[in-house]
């Protein structure tokens, strides 16, 4: 039986049904959405803050639009001289005497602020060198380990244990890595010397020289190796994922064509896994660049007035010199010296430069991935 009213609005079999399911749906969607927005907002706030505070120090409105002194000078002590009219002069240690002479009686007072003058060339160079050493070591060890675990090792309890150990390594605090680097690389690694130190752990005479386990001292090499161990878990895991992504069929076919295992890996697995390995490793390396604790004891000094190749042994000694590094420099400026507008300026400038460097690394990895993905597709 149908009434006239029901006829005018025919029964809709797909009409919405009010229920708690719908409400749950809405609540869940908004929770997820808010979570995402919160992350986005935090990231945007950080970037905006650094950009607003840091950009004016590094960039300038006049040609060449970049504060070249900030990027090409070593850090030095900033001298602020005030005359009796309250006028401020900013200068370096050399300039301060000249200005004081010129002012004569007009001189009122002088303030010095450590590390906040000059530029940050030292830390930039130091971080670059550290990252290069770290990248070479981490890629070599990481790829070798991943290939062994994924291609050669037979699956068993031992391999599971190794995997677990690698995962656990990722959870070790970075300061522990720093201490590890201090004892192993700074104080214990082998080097060739004619006269071993007294504290050397072991000396193996080789006739013309000695192999002495006395460490590499506070140096780029020690810091780079330590950083490599910090990111090894990430690199190994990423490498393994990339190797797994190469179809098994390639390996089978290659073996069926009479290739040996290593030939198969070198010609049919690695070339196709390499794009992924490189991109994910670059992201790991961006992280290594920002680590402070591992290099505090192994490579970085709070202040150094020389570039690494200006040491005694020149260019050859670059990797055995200690350096300044950006993250440690930022830490020094922020926590080791009294805060004022001048130190804050140097600090924000450093952070800004550092952020730009890391972001360009990340961008490079994305570009590389795009380019190589298009080339190797199956």
């Amino acid at each position: 039986m149908t009434t006239a009213a029901a006829d005018s609005t025919p029964h809709n079999p797909f009409a919405k049904r009010q229920s708690h399911r719908e409400r749950n749906e809405l609540v869940t969607r908004w929770l997820l959405r808010l979570g995402t927005y919160a992350v986005l907002a935090a990231a945007a706030a950080i970037f905006a803050h650094i950009f607003i505070k840091g950009a004016p120090i590094v960039l300038s409105s006049k040609a060449p639009f970049i504060n070249t002194a900030f990027l090409t000078k070593l850090p030095e002590t900033l001298h602020i001289i005030e005359d009796k009219q309250g006028k401020l002069y900013e200068t370096d240690p050399k300039g301060s005497d000249v200005i004081k002479q010129q002012l004569g009686n007009n001189f009122r007072q002088e303030k010095t602020i450590s590390y906040s003058g000059g530029g940050i060339l030292g830390p930039i160079i130091g971080t670059t060198l550290l990252v290069i050493v770290c990248m070479v070591v981490a890629l070599f060890l990481g790829i070798a380990t991943a290939i062994y675990l994924n291609e050669y090792a037979s699956h068993g309890r031992f391999i599971e244990l190794v995997r677990l150990a690698i995962l656990n390594l990722a959870g070790v605090p970075s300061v522990v890595f720093g201490l590890f680097g201090l004892s192993v690389f700074v104080l214990g690694a082998p080097r060739f010397v004619s006269e071993p130190l007294e504290r050397s752990l072991l000396v193996i005479p080789l006739g013309f020289t000695n192999l002495s386990f006395e460490g590499w001292d506070t140096s780029v090499l020690a810091g780079g190796f330590t950083l490599a161990f910090v990111i090894l878990p990430v690199v190994i895991t990423a490498c393994e994922e990339c190797l797994k992504a190469v179809p098994q069929g390639f390996r089978e076919t290659s073996l069926a064509l009479g290739a040996t295992k290593w030939q198969t890996i070198r010609k049919c697995v690695l070339p196709f896994a390499l794009p992924g390995i490189l991109t994910s490793s670059i992201l790991g390396i961006a992280r290594a660049a920002g680590e402070t604790a591992p290099i505090m004891f192994t490579a970085a000094l709070a202040f150094k007035d020389k570039l690494p190749w200006q040491g005694e042994s020149g260019l050859m000694g670059t990797l055995t010199q200690s350096v300044q590094a950006l993250p440690y420099h930022i830490y020094t400026l922020a926590a080791r010296i009294p805060q004022n507008e001048y130190s804050e300026r140097a600090q924000y400038g450093s952070v800004f430069v550092f952020l730009v460097l890391v972001m360009s690394l990340a961008a490079a990895s994305i570009l590389l991935r795009r380019k190589l993905r298009a080339k190797y597709k199956w």
């Binding site: 037979s154 069929g249 076919t253 073996l255």
Partner: protein, 243 residues
């Protein structure tokens, strides 16, 4: 011959002699062990942990290939294989064909060039592809890719060519081409083919082996096996009345 995957026995007491320069087909329902048997002939299932021949021997050219002094790369050089899924490497057509030669240390350009032409001709691809040898192999059609895989497998002039369901991913026309190809290849190679498709076994093979649950039920000339099978199970299977 018996064959195990770890503790699980996959092949039970097989005994057959595969005639040279003929096409032999293995048929049987899924999981009957026909692919396992095929993979024994070039020991490609050595990769699977625990896989081993537990009793008996496989003799190729009079030599038991499971002996300790058999070098796998030499064995696989002389026993080529084409897989179910056509899987050319993401390299050029040229590099795909010469891969087997390169891994055996051949690098002379003239030898490689000659091999590419010979193999592509044998695989009926030369006329289609001779102008684009340096294009990426993945741009080819499915049928072309599978024929390229055949060309790649015969580059080292193997004596035996194993084919694991080479047409199962192809359309009827491409299948037809591969079947024609098998007819010409058999003049130079011993071909062993695994197939789900009984019509195909009938069309391409000279001999057929019917396997069921890891046992060899019947092995005879194709003609005989399909028209006049000795075993009841074979009869039921080839007539599609299997249960």
């Amino acid at each position: 011959m018996d064959f195990h995957y770890g503790k699980k026995q996959a092949l039970h007491g097989l005994n057959l002699q595969i005639p040279a320069r003929k096409v032999t087909a293995f048929i049987g329902p899924s999981g009957c062990g026909k692919s396992t048997l095929l993979c024994c002939f070039n020991r490609i299932n050595d990769r699977i942990p625990g896989a081993h021949v537990s009793r008996g021997a496989i003799r190729i050219k009079g030599k038991n290939i499971y002996d300790d002094d058999v070098d796998l790369t030499q064995l696989r050089n002389q026993v080529g294989m084409v897989f179910q899924k056509s899987n050319p490497f993401p390299k050029t057509i040229y590099e795909n064909v010469v891969y087997g030669l390169r891994v055996h240390g051949v690098s002379k350009r003239s030898v490689l060039d000659e091999a590419v032409e010979r193999c592509l001709r044998s695989a009926a691809l030369w006329d289609e592809l001779k102008d684009r040898l340096h294009d990426y192999a993945l741009g080819l059609s499915g049928g072309q890719q599978q024929r390229l895989c055949i060309a790649r497998a015969i580059a080292s002039k193997p004596d035996i060519l194993l084919m694991d369901e080479p047409c199962s991913a192809l359309d009827p026309l491409a299948t037809l081409k591969i079947e024609e190809l098998i007819h010409t290849l058999v003049k130079e190679y011993t071909v062993v083919i695994v197939t789900h498709n009984m019509q195909q076994a009938r069309r391409v093979s000279d001999y057929t082996a019917f396997l069921y649950l890891g046992k060899l039920i019947e092995f005879a000339t194709t003609q005989e096996l399909f028209v006049n099978p000795r075993e009841k199970q074979t009869d039921a299977y080839v007539r599609g009345q299997f249960s």
